[in-house]
Symmetry: C2
Subunit: 116 residues, 2 copies
DNA sequence: CATTCTTATCGTCTTTTGACGATAACACGG
DNA sequence: CCGTGTTATCGTCAAAAGACGATAAGAATG
């Protein structure tokens, strides 16, 4: 039997609705921030990964690799980009790494696009 | 006196809230569509252009050029990318070209990001 | 400890992006 | 018709992105 992913430490169900209002939504800084977030989503594979995580169809890196027609190193790189942009978080579980959506980043993206 | 931009044909104030529900929000096609939209926004200059258009601080290509530290050809290229992605529309007015936000595309973007 | 499984990183290559100047195309004013 | 102002396109170049295989690192398992 395949080992189950232990951790529920990533994306706990009781995650509070984060405050984003303390950060500015305008100005050059906000423009750069939105551009960075959008750029991270600006690739079909990364959108696909976010959807897989969102629907909990995949959680561990190797599962994501199975779902995509890409090499493991490529998927790892996409995950790194998403993580760097603040759109996913990860939690180590022994050898494996569990990924999940970073809803703070996602909210931030929506807030920034909302005022265009 | 500088010639006024004649056209209000672009982005009329009474633009109806468009229907987007007929298009799918899931599947590989939707993923590609979201990636394409996000990629178009994934550059600081293009975010800046969208904001300028949104606040009506600029409307004509030459005005946008004045607002950005970029060459005219570069700005034109950014506008082309935004237009191609369906995020801005343009209307000819004699020699000038008036740009405006394509709210259909923007709604589409928000709808696609909403379900992540 | 050796093996296996899982993930990140590195090196390399090709393709795409971003920027610019030069130039073409076009409408308008004299 | 001639110059002027405005925008799009082209050619070129440097930089970044995207993909892969190989490999390193680390945890679990026997």
């Amino acid at each position: 039997m395949a080992k189950r992913f232990k951790g529920d430490m990533c994306c706990p169900p009781g995650a509070p609705a984060a405050e984003v209002s303390w950060q500015t939504l305008e100005g050059a800084e906000a423009d750069d921030e939105l551009a960075k977030l959008a750029k991270a989503i600006g690739h079909p594979a990364r959108v696909r990964i976010l959807r897989l995580l969102s629907r909990k169809e995949a959680r561990v890196c190797s599962q994501i690799v199975d779902e995509l027609p890409l090499a493991q190193s490529t998927v790892s790189e996409h995950l790194r980009i998403l993580k760097e942009a603040g759109l996913v978080r990860c939690a180590q579980d022994g050898t494996r790494v569990g990924y999940c959506i970073d809803f703070d980043g996602l909210r931030r993206l929506k807030a920034l696009t909302a005022i265009i």
